[in-house]
């Protein structure tokens, strides 16, 4: 699992990469939560640009992050979602409960 992040004016951007499945999901959730707890952002952005594959484990990662941000009364935003992860997220209706920016289904 690879994950890079940066913070600017209480906005935390986490760039996810590689394949998101059950094998790496928990580690990914914990890594994102750690960043959120450390920086207490008002807005968290998950960037999916480099995600090559995602199954429903990714939905749990998004929901987990959303719950963390809700308890901080912050916002979660998803961006640059490739077609395959986007289809999986849409199957769970994620677009109805989080903001999605710059989705890029092919």
């Amino acid at each position: 699992m690879k994950l890079t992040s940066y913070v600017q004016e209480r906005q935390l951007t986490v760039a996810l990469a590689g394949e998101i499945d059950h094998h790496c999901a928990r580690e990914m959730m914990e890594a994102i939560s750690e960043k959120i707890d450390l920086y207490l952002p008002l807005r968290c952005i998950l960037d999916f640009r480099d995600v090559r594959f995602m199954d429903s484990s990714g939905i749990a990662v998004v929901l987990h992050t959303l719950r963390r941000m809700n308890t901080l009364q912050g916002k979660l935003l998803l961006q640059n979602i490739p077609a395959q992860p986007y289809k999986v997220l849409r199957a769970a209706g994620i677009e109805k409960i989080t903001e999605i920016k710059e989705e890029c289904p092919q």
Partner: protein
């Protein structure tokens, strides 16, 4: 039905095998010349089924997962994923979107995704005996192919 090609894999229920299983099926399916979208759907469905075996069929021990794939006439990919784990008590409930017994780590969307991403989906299970997922996906033939 007569198959034009087939393969079979057996592997232990280790989570590292999720990526292996979906990649192997994707490689096997490549001979049908699927689009990236079709391949994405197949990989997602396989990943969901194998993850279910790992998380639910064998929660406390390693068990064996058998994955069979066949190419049927008219460009149909046929996939069977079978375990001998603890089985599903209530199939209807298990298939309900967002229902899970897997805790906060799981989304409860596995069966919903398998069902909607594949052309056919069948689930058989017996408590204490195991679960079999049978899925088919028709690959649309595109221009330029016979």
């Amino acid at each position: 039905m007569k198959s034009e090609n087939y393969m079979e894999l057996k592997f232990p229920s280790k989570s590292a095998n999720e990526a292996f299983a979906r990649a192997a099926v994707a490689c096997f399916a490549a001979q049908l010349d699927p689009t990236l979208d079709e391949l994405g759907d197949i990989k997602t469905a396989v990943s969901e089924a194998v993850t279910n075996c790992i998380v639910h069929a064998y929660p406390d021990e390693l068990g064996e997962i058998v994955l069979k794939a066949r190419i049927l006439p008219d460009s149909v990919l046929d996939i069977v994923i079978k375990d001998r784990g603890r089985g599903i008590e209530d199939i209807e409930k298990a298939r309900t979107p967002m229902f899970t017994t897997g805790g906060a780590d799981r989304s409860g969307m596995g069966f919903t995704i398998m069902e909607s991403f594949m052309t056919e989906f069948r689930l058989t299970s017996a408590p204490g005996k195991g679960t079999t997922v049978h899925m088919k996906r028709k690959i649309i033939r595109r221009g330029g192919k016979k």
